[in-house]
């Protein structure tokens, strides 16, 4: 019950140890693994979960949960692609981000004003947005996107893939918001003890709504990047990503019940999963065994992380 700070520190660095252990293990098992080119690939692959995870971190720190990220991602991606065809890249991207943010904010409103548990509200949004995507795309991928749009998901700045840069920028901004602004402080407070936060004059409803709007915005961004990577908007994009995003957050040591956690833990959590997927492919574990191995490795990684606590 006492000295949690110490615990926190271990929790944070613990998971980092897990990540490093993983990298070492794979480096031993495959000489192709720990190369610059492969690490860049891993990071680019990770960026998708990272975007979602960063948004999810806000939501979970505020003691919420967002199951709709995968569907919102798909809807935003589809709308962006659709608008892009006729009105050009810029408006397309704008439209996509707008849709994502709006859907997120809507979830937030439902949760705060109708007092519906976040789990249910976003589960409903998950279905609505997915359905909306299917209706909007008529179940077909949206293709024929302007070629310059490719840059977003497949371009490079120097030798660095653009999504990686975008991920880092997003991370830094999110970190600043969470650590240096009142809003960030209020996110922690709301998740830590909503009554005390309210009693301190914090408009907790607005905090919660903003959290979901942020998550929605980043889902939208992810959808756009993904469409660029896949050169098309898929109606089925992002299915099941909500679990990956939440997993990244919780792997990162954030308390699923809110109030405690660090943004960069999420980044590490996302990497652990990205490395796992890539590494297991590199050392070609048969796809059936991959899942078993994946599960076991996650347990080991987290155990390492926790072990420090005692």
């Amino acid at each position: 019950m006492k000295n949690l700070q110490y615990k926190d520190i271990i929790r944070r660095y613990g998971i980092l140890i897990g990540l490093i252990g993983l990298i070492i293990a794979f480096s031993i098992l495959s000489e192709r693994f720990f190369t610059i080119s492969n690490m860049l690939i891993v990071m680019r692959q990770t960026s998708i979960v990272a975007f979602l995870g960063i948004g999810m971190t806000f939501v979970i720190l505020g003691a919420g949960i967002d199951l709709s990220v995968g569907s919102v991602l798909a809807f935003s991606g589809a709308v962006a692609a659709g608008v892009m065809q006729s009105r050009g890249i810029f408006l397309g991207i704008l439209a996509g981000l707008a849709v994502g943010t709006a859907l997120g904010a809507f979830s937030g409103l439902v949760i705060t004003k109708l007092r519906i548990p976040a789990f249910i509200a976003t589960l409903a949004m998950m279905a609505i947005a997915r359905g909306g995507t299917l209706v909007y795309t008529d179940g077909r991928p949206v293709t024929g996107l302007p070629s310059s749009f490719a840059f977003l998901g497949r371009g490079y700045i120097g030798d660095i893939p653009f999504p990686i840069i975008l991920m880092l920028v997003t991370f830094v901004l999110a970190y600043i918001i969470l650590k240096l602004t009142r809003f960030g402080r209020y996110v922690y407070a709301t998740g830590g003890n909503i009554d005390a936060a309210r009693a301190s004059g914090i408009k907790v409803d607005n905090i919660i709504i903003s959290n979901f709007a942020i998550s929605g915005f980043l889902s939208g961004l992810t959808g756009i990047v993904l469409s660029s990577r896949l050169n098309s908007a898929q109606p089925t994009a992002g299915m099941g990503y909500e679990l990956d995003a939440i997993a990244a957050v919780v792997l990162g040591g954030t308390n699923l019940f809110g109030g405690e956690g660090e943004l960069w833990g999420t980044l590490i959590g996302a990497f652990i999963m990205g490395i796992l997927n890539n590494g297991l492919n590199m050392i070609n574990v048969s796809s059936f065994y991959q899942q078993v191995v994946k599960g076991i490795v996650i347990l080991i990684a987290v155990t390492v992380a926790q072990s420090g606590k005692k």
Partner: protein, 503 residues
């Protein structure tokens, strides 16, 4: 000059099952200390929460400096310059001291108005220095603080608002003499600056020490408001309880000559918490464990009860050495612990009174063979309710919604049901009214008569003197002195409680 700083006019409030306030009207004069007293559940906290807008009144109006105030949401109280020191603390456990004190009014800097942590840290240190209570690291998380420390943070937060009206809901309950006196100095200082204070306490003597006026509530009704000068202790108590009640410590249970030792601890030590604690407890004996905040009493209690592991030392029960590694084993060995922080270790506040009362006893009695004997359970629960005069609408009421004192009584009750051989009480009378205190003292005596050994931890030295057969004084994790209450005064205890070296 006596402008009216705050005025309640016909405030009523009811909760399902109870009318907590019935047309209460009180005038609070500016720059005065106005005490509110009443039994547990009388409606004090409810009225105070209404004053700051954390609860919404059903009817009635609130005036601040003679103007009607629209206080309908938690932030409104702050806007009208009223701040509340909560009885059940209103802090964010996952944030640290600084972050809690400035929550909602963070100091920012720069064009982007980023948080100015250094500034806030400095101001926090200033506030804590001004309070001059014990040292407290501003970077500690609330969840890592002892209850006394939490209380101090709660006070510091309210003061840092520089409000014109400060409401203190049992601020002294979790404090020891020293800090309480310091708190009073602070209150007087504020008073001299024209700040108005509402002060709630169950320690009547404190009323007479600090208050100018006193209002007495009973069952949600205002009984009277009087100048403290024009009323005496006895009148206050009688008006509170609604009958004539003599507040004197009941005669202590006689100890049998042939009483044998039931608990002996030899040189138990826990790093950085306490060291070389040794004492014997005889059956039917009441040991008073006195000390200041942080002296290690609670940690000793937790260790005896298997919630903390010991680094060194032995524990003997009925002469046999035992290892107690879990509360389960502790209970099996006939121990019971009344924890100092009821919300942390005492209660499952989202569950109802019945379930909380019988929780520890299920295994040993009520549900011996897996199934719960509901009849028995209810009758036992009703039994302790009567014995302790616990006030609630029904056994199925959530503990969350009980008044602070009644919550405390529920914790006492749940341990009485386990019929312990050794009962450790850590601040058992914290926040409970005089009537209930007497009841607790009587219970302690009856239990002692039954041969139960009791370790009575308290920060109220008068109480220790009035209850214990033998007093052990702790300071900085060591027992500094054993005292005999018959030949001891409060100052003596304080002397050894602040003594650094072992005598």
């Amino acid at each position: 000059m006596n402008k009216i700083a705050l005025e309640f006019i016909n405030i009523s409030k009811s909760f399902p099952g109870v009318k907590a306030l019935k047309k209460v009207s009180i005038k609070i004069k500016q720059a005065k200390v106005h005490a509110i007293v009443g039994e547990n559940g009388a409606g004090k906290s409810t009225l105070m929460k209404i004053a700051v807008g954390e609860l919404l009144r059903d009817t009635g109006t609130i005036k601040v400096f003679d103007r009607e105030a629209q206080i309908n949401s938690p932030s409104d109280g702050y806007h009208y310059g009223i701040s509340l020191i909560h009885q059940e603390f209103s802090l964010v456990p996952t944030l640290d001291v600084v972050q809690n004190i400035f929550l909602g009014r963070e100091i920012t800097k720069g064009p982007l108005s980023f948080l100015d942590s250094n500034q806030m840290y400095k101001r926090t240190e200033e506030i804590l220095d001004f309070l001059k209570m014990f040292h407290l690291d501003p970077h500690l998380k609330i969840e890592d603080l002892t209850i006394a420390q939490k209380q101090v943070v709660e006070i510091a937060k309210a003061l840092s608002l520089n409000s014109k009206i400060i409401i203190m809901d049992e601020p002294s309950a979790a404090l020891t003499l020293e800090e309480t006196h310091r708190l009073f100095e602070v209150v007087r200082e504020l008073k001299s600056r024209g700040v108005t204070t509402l002060f709630i306490s169950h320690r009547i003597e404190e009323i007479f020490e600090i208050a100018d006026e006193v209002s007495i509530l009973r069952d949600g009704e205002l009984i009277l408001t009087k100048q403290v000068a024009q009323i005496d202790r006895k009148q206050v108590i009688n008006n509170m309880v609604g009958r004539s009640l003599e507040f004197v410590f009941p005669p202590k249970a006689k100890q049998k000559k042939e009483a044998k030792v039931i608990l002996e601890v030899k040189k138990i030590t826990k790093e950085r918490q306490f060291s070389d604690i040794s004492f014997q407890l005889k059956e039917g004996e009441i040991i008073g464990l006195a000390g200041l905040v942080g002296s290690g009493r609670s940690e000793v209690a937790l260790s005896l009860f298997g919630l903390n592991h010991l680094d060194k030392g032995e524990i003997f029960l009925q002469g046999k050495t035992v290892k107690i590694n879990s509360p389960f084993e502790a209970i099996r060995n006939g121990l019971a612990l009344l924890p100092e922080d009821r919300r942390e270790l005492g209660l499952v506040i989202v569950r109802n009174v019945l379930e909380n009362l019988t929780l520890p006893d299920l295994y040993w009695d009520i549900a011996r063979k897996y199934f719960i004997d509901l009849k028995k359970e209810i009758s036992l629960a009703k039994g302790v309710q009567k014995e302790l005069a616990i006030r609630f609408a029904s056994l199925s009421q959530k503990v969350e919604s009980l008044s602070g004192g009644n919550q405390q009584k529920v914790v006492v009750g749940k341990w009485l049901l386990t019929k312990p051989k050794i009962l450790i009480m850590d601040e058992p009378t914290r926040g409970i009214d005089v009537g209930a205190k007497l009841e607790i003292y009587n219970i302690v005596n009856t239990l002692a008569k039954k041969g139960i050994g009791i370790i009575f931890i308290s920060s109220e030295f008068s109480e220790i003197l009035g209850v214990a057969h033998r007093i052990l004084v702790m300071s900085e994790g060591r027992i500094t002195k054993e005292l005999d209450p018959k030949s001891t005064k409060e100052e003596d205890i304080l002397k050894f409680a602040t003594r650094k070296k072992v005598s």
